[in-house]
């Protein structure tokens, strides 16, 4: 995997194309869903697909019955080898030599082209992008735009070489040329092989969605039509098919509807064969965790918004399915070990989950895949030491942090960054690392008894970074909370939220950490639990109830989840009590992924607070991920560096000399990156800027 990732990192064409497409896609998707309730559409897709998964055996029978009554023939294949054998057999039986294909990712799943070419058949992909990668001998780099990694010059050179004529790099001309070649292939073919986006059981109908129209042509011109259909594509009836058609084109290409949606019921000309492919889908349906992945529409929306995919593209993934959902599908369809490796490419930003029209919790399932690896192969030595040796033992972990804090003075440069270590780990040197603070937030509290003070009480869940590395963040939050009438209490049993361990696949450690935290917080009553760390907030809200489901702590975890709130949301509701001396400073805001993708408007609250405090807020063009992702930035320094570099450029481009963000992890990454660039640019938590402008009520 490392070699493929390195290759991708070395391709500026790919990075530019992906960044450009991804930015355009976000706008187009938004416009295509305009006027519609995305959440309602998603709920409908979830309901429709869940029903189909539950009834999958019946739907397969009904589909076969209906299609055969129309003169089609249905075959079932358990795996790739069987599917390839069936298709070869059909072509042989009908004396077919020339085959055209309409884009089908399922056919790539079973490596059909290789099997057919091995049998001496002439195979032509008719989707332009697929044809380009076929001519180039590449694998597709995007589910919807397979040749996104090539620019017009590279494609012109490829056409010139393969088609034996000088082809200038003019896109319109190249499309015309391709049309001519592909029209001939379509007209001369004996058989057309397609996939299907939907198979309607009640009618025995296949539905194929394309923009070029090759789905319709490949099924209407050749005398034989063969469709390879994953069993996950079966739906009961027309209303369910329409629900999917409403969600698919906006998610896939940002169109309200694709140009052509072809319905096929029975043979268009002589013969129609449909192969229903299982290939791991039954196992997926039987897994309580992974069953939801069968809802996938293969729209690629999750790829288009994935900050890691945007840097490395699809060819860095070892098998046909790419991106986050690719990691999950690969685990069941191809190769579990490869999938476990791919899981390390996830930064855990959760952008995919916000756009998935099928409501699949992709990041959670990726962590489950990482968990399979940890279960089967154990943790790596560094992960073991970090998670089991240190972080799972709260007292030992805190003692270590305290000692590191004491040593901090010797290790730090004048900016508080670690002086040594960079030489030992050059790949991680793209970002300076802060030293642990001399006095942690928790140790500064010793001797204070919050309960004696006046005002209402909140429980303060600082998270590790604001406790040990950036205690000034915690102190700023405390000051703000106090000025809106709340005293903060920090339970001493508070430890790591468990998300880093879970992300690395160590569900056992994460569960222990969640249990310990729940016990320590439940002892504290019913007050709101306020945090300055969105990762902790996500853990409290979602991970703890999930990890503790079925244990005696489950209901307590759910109660605690309902009490948790981010600091900016908490403050904005009480903004009338905050008094500021207008700061009059130009500032930009960095959206932390966990803040933005949680969808609770924490980032909007922060922006409003900064404006109320008198800051002049300037926005960056695109608000991309900074590449931190906790352990991700350590495991994938090459990718993290590229993500950070793009983000630093856009932050500096605003003309502001400082950035606010609601995440201590992003502070670490951006500050460290700017330090390596030797640029005077300050990144701090929003609360620090607010506290700086705050006029205390007794001033």
């Amino acid at each position: 995997m490392k070699r493929r990732v390195d290759d991708a990192l070395g391709s500026p064409v790919l990075r530019h194309a992906l960044a450009d497409f991804s930015a355009r896609y976000v706008k187009m998707r938004k416009a295509a869903f305009g006027g519609l309730d995305f959440e309602a559409i998603r709920d409908e897709v979830v309901a429709v697909k869940e029903r189909a998964i539950s009834e999958r055996e019946r739907l397969q029978r009904e589909f076969a019955e209906k299609l055969e009554a129309k003169g089609g023939r249905v075959h079932r294949a358990d795996d790739s080898a069987e599917a390839n054998q069936i298709i070869r057999g059909i072509l042989e039986e009908h004396g077919a030599r020339k085959v055209v294909k309409s884009k089908s990712i399922t056919s790539e799943e079973i490596r059909l082209n290789k099997a057919l070419e091995g049998a001496g058949l002439e195979v032509t992909e008719t989707d332009l992008g697929e044809w380009i990668v076929q001519l180039a001998g590449h694998s597709p780099s995007h589910m919807v735009i397979p040749a996104i990694h090539m620019d017009r010059n590279q494609i012109a050179a490829l056409f010139s070489e393969k088609l034996g004529e000088e082809v200038p790099p003019d896109i319109g001309g190249m499309v015309k040329l391709a049309r001519r070649h592909l029209r001939r292939a379509l007209t001369e073919a004996d058989a057309g092989i397609t996939g299907a986006n939907i198979a309607v059981a009640a009618a025995g109908t296949l539905i194929i969605v394309t923009n070029e129209g090759n789905g319709g042509l490949a099924t209407s011109l050749p005398r034989i039509h063969i469709a390879l259909v994953g069993t996950d594509k079966l739906l009961p009836d027309w209303p369910s098919a329409m629900s999917i058609l409403r969600a698919l084109p906006p998610s896939a290409t940002g169109q309200r509807m694709s140009s052509y949606v072809s319905f096929l019921t029975g043979p268009a000309l002589e013969k129609q064969h449909v192969i229903l492919l299982d290939n791991g889908r039954r196992r997926m349906a039987e897994s309580p965790d992974f069953r939801q992945a069968l809802r996938c529409l293969r729209c690629g929306a999750c790829l288009n918004v994935c900050p890691v995919y945007r840097i490395i593209g699809g060819q860095a993934f070892s098998h046909v399915y790419m991106g986050g959902i690719g990691t999950i599908l690969t685990a069941f369809i191809h190769d579990r070990d490869a999938a476990c490796e791919l899981a390390k490419l996830c930064s855990g930003c959760r952008a995919c989950a916000t756009v998935c029209p099928a409501g699949i919790d992709i990041p959670f399932l990726i962590e489950k895949v990482a968990g399979l690896a940890a279960e089967e192969n154990g943790l790596g030595p560094i992960e073991w030491l970090l998670l089991r040796g240190v972080m799972s033992r709260r007292r030992a972990y805190h003692a270590l942090m305290t000692s590191l804090g004491k040593a901090g003075g010797i290790l730090a440069d004048k900016d508080g960054m670690l002086k040594i270590g960079a030489g030992a780990l050059p790949s991680a040197d793209f970002r300076a690392i802060p030293v642990v603070a001399r006095e942690s937030y928790r140790s500064s509290l010793s001797g204070r008894d919050a309960r004696e003070e006046k005002g209402e009480r909140i429980i303060f869940f600082t998270g590790c970074l604001a406790d040990f590395v950036y205690p000034e963040t915690a102190r700023a939050a405390e000051r703000l909370l106090s000025s809106v009438g709340f005293e903060t209490a920090m339970p001493t049993g508070q430890g790591c939220c468990g998300l880093p361990a879970h992300h690395l696949g160590d569900a056992g450690t994460a569960r222990r950490q969640a249990a310990e935290a729940v016990k320590s917080l439940s002892a504290e009553g019913a007050e709101p639990i306020v945090t300055v760390c969105p990762t902790c907030l996500h853990a409290i809200r979602s991970l703890w109830p999930e990890l503790l489901a079925g244990t005696e702590l489950e209901s307590e975890a759910r109660r605690i989840a309902a009490r948790a709130v981010g600091i900016s949301s908490f403050l904005i509701a009480r903004a009338d009590k905050l008094r500021f001396a207008p700061a009059k400073q130009k500032i930009t805001y960095h959206d932390s992924c966990h803040v933005k993708n949680m969808g609770e408007g924490e980032e909007l609250a922060a922006r409003r607070l900064l404006t109320i405090a008198g800051y002049e807020l300037v926005e960056t063009g695109e608000n991309s991920c900074c590449g931190f992702g906790g352990t991700f930035s350590v495991n994938q320094p090459g990718i993290s560096e590229k993500m950070l570099s793009a983000r630093l450029d856009s932050l500096s481009g605003t003309g502001a000399s400082c950035a606010a963000t609601d995440c201590p992890g992003c502070v670490l990454q951006i500050r460290g990156g700017m330090a390596r660039r030797s640029v005077r640019f300050l990144a701090r938590h929003t609360v620090e800027y607010l506290a700086e402008a705050l006029v205390d009520s007794d001033d």
Partner: protein
Amino acid sequence: MAEADRIMLFTERAKAASAEVLGPAPKSGLAEEIGRALSAGRHPRAVAHPSLLTIHPWLEFASSDCDLVRHADLGIIAARYGIARTGTCVYEPSNSAERLIALLPPTCLILLRTADIVADIGALAAAFDDRHAGVAQSLFITGPSRTGDIEHVLTLGMQGPGRLVIALWHEDT
């Protein structure tokens, strides 16, 4: 949604998908409208869905011989429905030759009666449920054939028609 709103929305959305929209014109004025837009004479090899020649006899310039479709430069079909929200025409051919009228020639002309425009795709589900047989070979058409496969630059006419003209009509009053 009232019919006038459906027509307006359909027109806006079909144009957004790069289709040209004519009318709405009364049935008796349709020939003129289309003649102006297409200058029918420039399409000497037009093929029309056979049923159209009886409904719109002025289409006499077009052949109803589906076998000629591979060489035609204009394909003429009638949509059974329009979908306003997406600007989509729903065509219901009964065999592959009829389907190819919409796909092979470089220009496609679709006649759509305004009363057949529904608001959203959901409204079709019930109609489809009642008429399994009728919809068996349906084709939804939203704008011309397109690709963005090279540098994501929108290019029309990749495999199917590069020009899609939708003529809206209503019964004469």
